[in-house]
């Protein structure tokens, strides 16, 4: 397999700041050239530390970082061919938009005419020509982000690293700038590595979503795979959109196993190939919230194909295209159904109603533990 210039490979990457606690432990990952990769996880999960190690602002305690096939540990950021876009952008407050973007060329010793020629082309690209002579303080959040992006991209890096690039913006702008980031990534055709704690952002942008917890990778894969087929309870809950049920395995037969969550009747789940589960084991099962159908308690379901749990409606939130209905189907756990708006209002439920939450058995998913 040929290695391309923007390929990133992390091998056994480990970081500890105090020698006791591991910020990042033994991370292995391949990010292909030109991919949009999102590291997703709660604060303190080590995602920013990995980004900073790739950028060269932090040295790994152990392991290797390969960019384009060469080990870059110990090299300066410029030698790595990476550029970083900082959280809240870190634009130089004393320099105009133009001089901010030209900074990398200035420190390389390009003369003024030459560096402004290159810079102005970039300014054109990110549509900032009008604001060329403004100071960062005179720009809006979205404009600042475009300056930061242009400043990082001017060196024509092979990898662009973005540290929570959208967290400084308000909701509406965030969605707008998300599109802008994607556009820039396609235009530049280089590898983007983006760190975020927002699953919405990650699945909207990324070709490769990397879910992290406590310094380790929990699951890495395409957005749809990570969202629709979470590997375990942590990933399912972090990405949301899933109900997770736990219980002891009662029987295993015909490629299905049945388990009993707490006081509930037995529920069937398809057995997964290569899953090592025996009778009596504690298991987690995920059911997508939009796979759940709410029925009146006297409704009949086709046993063998469907399964259902009864519950009381605790709360109803109107979300526009769907209605979020919260049930007390499982003790102490959230159980939510996303009901399409039209079908909900055909026969609306009220808070306190007893309902039957039903789903197709083959839509449920056995999670790893």
């Amino acid at each position: 397999m040929t290695v391309r210039r923007g390929d990133i490979e992390l091998a056994g990457l480990t970081k500890t700041f105090d020698g006791v606690h591991m910020a990042v432990q033994g991370v292995n990952l391949r990010i292909p050239n030109g991919a949009y990769c999102c590291f997703l996880g709660p604060s303190g999960c080590g995602k920013t530390t990995i980004l900073r190690m790739i950028a060269g602002h932090e040295d790994p305690s152990d392991g290797e970082i390969l960019i384009g096939g060469e080990n870059v540990v110990g090299l300066a950021p410029v030698q790595r061919g990476t550029a970083m876009m900082f959280q809240s952008y870190a634009l130089f407050p004393h320099l105009s938009v133009r001089d901010n973007i030209a900074f990398a060329l200035r420190v390389r010793g390009l003369d003024k005419a030459e560096r402004y020629r290159v810079t102005d082309a970039m300014i054109e690209k990110v549509r900032l020509s009008e604001l060329r002579d403004r100071l960062p303080a005179q720009l809006s959040g979205g404009q600042q982000q475009r300056v930061a992006l242009a400043r990082a991209a001017i060196t024509e890096p092979r990898v662009l690293l973005l540290d929570e690039p959208l967290s400084a913006l308000d909701e509406q702008l965030r969605v707008q700038m998300r599109v802008e980031l994607q556009r820039m990534q396609r235009e530049l055709g280089i590898t983007f590595v983006h760190v975020t704690h927002s699953q919405l952002e990650a699945i909207a942008l990324a070709d490769l979503v990397v879910v992290m917890e406590k310094g380790e990778i929990k699951q890495a894969g395409p957005a749809r795979e990570v969202y629709a087929s979470p590997k375990d309870r942590y990933v399912a809950e972090f990405l949301g959109g899933q109900n997770v049920l736990s219980g002891k395995v009662e029987t295993i037969a015909d490629g299905r196993l049945s388990f009993a969550p707490l006081d509930r009747a037995e529920i069937a789940v398809p057995m997964r190939a290569n899953a090592r589960v025996g009778v009596g084991d504690q298991i987690d099962v995920a059911v997508r919230r939009d796979d759940i159908e709410l029925l009146r308690p006297n409704a009949t379901i086709s046993t063998g194909e469907q399964t259902a749990v009864p519950g009381r409606v605790l709360a109803i939130e109107y979300q526009g295209s769907f209605v979020k209905v919260m049930l007390d189907a499982i003790a102490d756990e959230e159980f939510v159904a996303y009901v399409p708006e039209r079908s909900f209002f055909r026969d609306p439920f009220a808070i306190g109603d007893i309902v039957l939450a039903a789903w197709r058995i083959d839509h449920a998913r056995l999670l790893g533990r």
Binding site: H57, P77, V78, S96, A104, R134, L135, Q138
Partner: protein, 294 residues
């Protein structure tokens, strides 16, 4: 009808917010009086001196004013009996400039160093603050004694410089800490990310961003040195600095020359402060102006 009601409602609401519309509460007058007293107490004595320095040849050391002229200013710079005012002034300015430069450079570097923990950082910091707490006169005598013991002549540019630095440096470093705390370390990291060397990071990012703060530290160093007395008294050697000259004049000059000197030094101080503040304003305006350009 309803419109009238609304407007009266608005008015009544207005009244609820500012109960004494048109008149101020009595506390305003009490506090204004207190503030006036404070200003008079602060500037009154100095203003008396400035006024008395403009008397004519018959003038004395106390009110009432006798005539109006610049006689004592001329006297100050021409008469030998008033001492070497010009020389002292010259030395004080040179010394203050020297102290300013060393203070700015060293405290900038110290603040850079203190951005990270290093072994013994607490001890270094405590030692620094210690020299701030030590009584100036005692410290001055100590420096004088040390130079004596080492057999080095005390002088305004040697021992006095050292003694003054023991005063201006800790102050400079403390102010620089405050200046530095407003510097976002991400700026430096971004510069590094873009390929700037350590020197380029300092010249192109840190110094320009911190420039107004550095001017403030310089002003601080200058004024502390320019009127420093206690530490300089035993260390200045045979040639006086301006504060020492003024002090010795109070002992043996009994003419309004003394007051004229006070007026002149005040004017110089004001000019220096104005220059410093002007520089800060200029830096900021230049940034604003450049930003406004198309």
């Amino acid at each position: 009808m309803s419109a009238a009601m609304t407007s009266s409602e608005i008015r009544s609401k207005h009244r609820a917010i500012a109960p004494s519309r048109g008149g101020r509460p009595w506390t305003f007058y009490a506090l204004a009086a207190l503030f006036t007293f404070y200003v008079v107490a602060l500037y009154g004595p100095m203003i008396c001196i400035y006024i008395l320095s403009f008397q004519d040849v018959r003038g004395g050391l106390v009110f009432p004013m006798k005539g109006l002229s610049l006689h004592w200013f001329i006297d100050l710079f021409t008469q030998v009996r008033t001492g070497d005012v010009k020389g002292a002034f010259d030395r004080s300015i040179k010394l203050a400039i020297l102290v300013t430069i060393i203070t700015v450079v060293v405290s900038f570097m110290a603040a850079l160093a203190f951005r990270r923990r290093f072994p013994g950082d607490n001890i270094v910091f405590s030692l620094m603050i210690g020299s701030l707490v030590a009584p100036g006169l005692v410290l001055g005598i100590g420096v004088g004694l040390l130079f004596n013991a080492l057999g080095i002549e005390t002088s305004w540019y040697g021992s006095a410089l050292g003694a003054q630095l023991s005063w201006t440096l800790p102050f400079g470093v403390l102010v620089m800490f405050a200046v530095m705390s407003r510097f976002n370390p991400a700026w430096e990291e971004a510069a590094r990310d873009l390929g700037a060397t350590a020197w380029q990071r300092i010249w192109l990012v840190m110094l320009p961003v911190l420039a107004p703060g550095l001017v403030a530290v310089a002003l601080f160093g200058f004024t502390l040195s320019y009127d420093e007395f206690a530490r300089t008294l035993q260390t200045a050697g045979p040639q006086n600095t301006l504060p020492l000259e003024i002090w010795s004049m109070t002992l043996n000059v009994t003419s309004p020359s003394l007051y004229a000197l006070g007026t002149v030094t005040t004017i110089i101080s004001f000019l220096i402060i104005a220059a410093a503040l002007g520089t800060i304003a200029w830096i900021q305006r230049r940034r604003g102006a450049r930003a406004g350009m198309r």
